[in-house]
């Protein structure tokens, strides 16, 4: 089995894609947790369904329509929150329900029940081709570069947006930028675990890291490490016992979260006395 994993092309691609995507999710997850944006992750990922279905209807690569939809909804959520009286979670609730409903209408119109809708909803990492791998690589480079470039400002505005604004940090631009990064990462994560489970990868690694870390850099590292570890072990495990890979990865993460939460008092106490 282990030999298969390293010799079969589709498994190699799945492994590389899984590592890159989970690395990105892990890094963003830190900020998603600290900025309490878990619901935005859910909102953006589910909105992508509308875009994916539009792709089926128009006969274009669902990746591009999915990205378009996710970006549009991400920007609309931010815009609605700053320009109208609506609360952020209400805005998310409305936009993601509306775009999922649109998705169902698009699917109905396209009569495309034979296409791999199930794969988009629940992930089908073994179907990742060379083209998708390049897309994932592209997103990885862009997202990592932006995070590294603006790391200190992203931390500052996550910590205290008002003071960041007063200090001259371009808060508004960075908020939109972060949502755009989130939308890009959500789309490539759909390959790994599917629309329904994307938010797990954006929330659980950060939550685990918060249980284990005392400094921010440590938290980012632990979150990325945990996400990659869970993705790789989840993939191997799912291949070995013939379970759906996306669900297995998410369950590995959930189990780790439970474990670290139970051990947290003991772990932090120990690190404090070092």
């Amino acid at each position: 089995m282990m030999i298969d994993l390293f010799t079969l092309g589709f498994l190699q691609r799945a492994l590389v894609a899984g590592i890159l995507v989970s690395l990105l999710c892990g890094m963003l997850s830190t900020f998603v947790v600290l900025r309490r944006m878990a619901f935005i992750g859910v909102g953006i990922s589910h909105s992508a369904f509308g875009g994916v279905a539009l792709g089926f209807l128009l006969g274009v690569d669902p990746l591009w329509t999915g990205i378009g939809f996710a970006l549009l909804v991400a920007v609309l959520i931010e815009w609605a929150q700053t320009h109208t009286a609506v609360e952020e979670d209400t805005a998310i609730g409305i936009f993601f329900a509306a775009s999922m409903a649109l998705g169902l209408i698009f699917l109905h119109l396209s009569r495309a029940y034979n296409v791999d809708v199930f794969g988009f909803l629940f992930g089908n990492i073994l179907a990742i081709g060379t083209q998708q791998l390049w897309q994932i690589l592209g997103v990885t480079v862009v997202v990592l570069a932006v995070i590294l470039a603006f790391f200190k400002e992203i931390v500052f505005l996550s910590f205290d947006e008002e003071m960041a604004w007063v200090s001259g940090v371009p808060v508004k631009a960075l908020r939109y930028l972060f949502l755009i990064l989130l939308a890009l990462v959500v789309i490539v994560t759909i390959y790994l675990v599917g629309i329904i489970l994307v938010s797990a990868l954006l929330v659980i690694p950060g939550a685990i890291a918060q249980n284990l870390s005392r400094t921010l850099k440590h938290m980012v590292g632990v979150s990325a490490g945990v996400a990659v570890g869970a993705a790789v072990s989840g993939l191997i495990l799912s291949y070995g016992i013939d379970f759906p890979s996306g669900a297995t990865i998410v369950l590995v993460l959930a189990a780790l979260y439970l474990l670290t939460s139970l051990l947290r008092p003991w772990l932090l106490c120990k690190s404090q006395h070092q």
Partner: protein, 258 residues
């Protein structure tokens, strides 16, 4: 020093149909220690946010050291700010030194990292506030009074000319409140600051500041009469009672020393 630090000219702010600030005219000279007093919902924080540029007034003009606050902030080296609730997430994993360094980010600019000089200045600010020993502690692990000192250190990390503190002493006990006001006074002299401090505690404010701005939609500027602190406190206390409960509209009155 000299010069005008803050100038508001016929400023109106409406929010959801209600008038929060009504025709506010105000001049604050550079180098003053100014307390802003008023009951809950009187517009104290709104006034500060207008001065900081966080809220754009519906009418009127705001100038801080002669510039519009939205432009001034981009320089990142003029205004130090302590928000009312600076610690939104108590589990945010940053050390005290990291928090104070954030005050430097505006000066450091995008795409650059803090240098040794920035770290030294941050440590100096912790010394100034009497908490150098807390540098490596997590912000969420500190007491309320210690946290406020850290956030004042961060505001001073900007090396500002104007220090703006929104309710720095809320939820602190009386002794610590006095310490904070006294500390700010010392630092104001040392660093040649103009200080704006919002509070709802009349007694503490009156003991420490040069000027008092009373606000309840409109504003009323009191300047201290040349009598002792006790005299100031009692005079001021009456005036404030009058202002809080009366329906008589107050316009800005200069050298108001009844």
């Amino acid at each position: 020093m000299g010069g005008i630090a803050v100038k508001l000219d016929r400023v109106w702010v409406n929010y959801n149909g209600a008038t929060i600030l009504e025709d506010v005219n105000l001049e604050i000279e550079a180098g003053r220690y100014v307390g802003i007093l008023g009951p809950n919902g009187a517009g104290k924080s709104t006034l500060l946010k207008v001065i900081l540029g966080l809220i754009h007034p519906n009418r009127g003009q705001v100038r801080v050291f002669g510039e519009a606050p939205e432009k001034l902030r981009l320089r990142g080296d003029v205004v130090g700010y302590l928000p009312q609730r600076p610690l939104g997430n108590p589990r945010f994993p940053v050390t005290v030194l990291d928090v104070v360094l954030m005050g430097r980010y505006g000066r450091i600019g995008l795409l650059k990292r803090p240098r040794r000089a920035d770290r030294e200045l941050a440590r100096q600010r912790l010394e100034d506030l009497g908490i150098p020993h807390l540098a490596q502690r997590l912000i969420g692990d500190l007491s309320g009074g210690e946290q406020q000192r850290v956030f004042i250190a961060r505001a001073l990390g900007v090396e500002p000319r104007l220090l703006v503190l929104d309710e720095p002493t809320v939820s602190l006990d009386a002794c610590v409140q006095d310490d904070i006001f006294e500390l700010v006074n010392t630092l104001k002299e040392k660093l040649h600051l103009t200080v704006l401090i919002v509070s709802h505690d009349i007694g503490t404010v009156a003991r420490h500041v040069d000027d008092v701005i009373c606000i309840n939609r409109r504003i009323h500027v009191h300047q201290p009469p040349p009598i002792g602190r006790l005299g100031l406190e009692s005079t001021f206390g009456c005036a404030v009672e009058y202002l809080f409960h009366g329906e008589i509209p107050h316009r800005v009155v200069r050298a108001h020393d009844d």
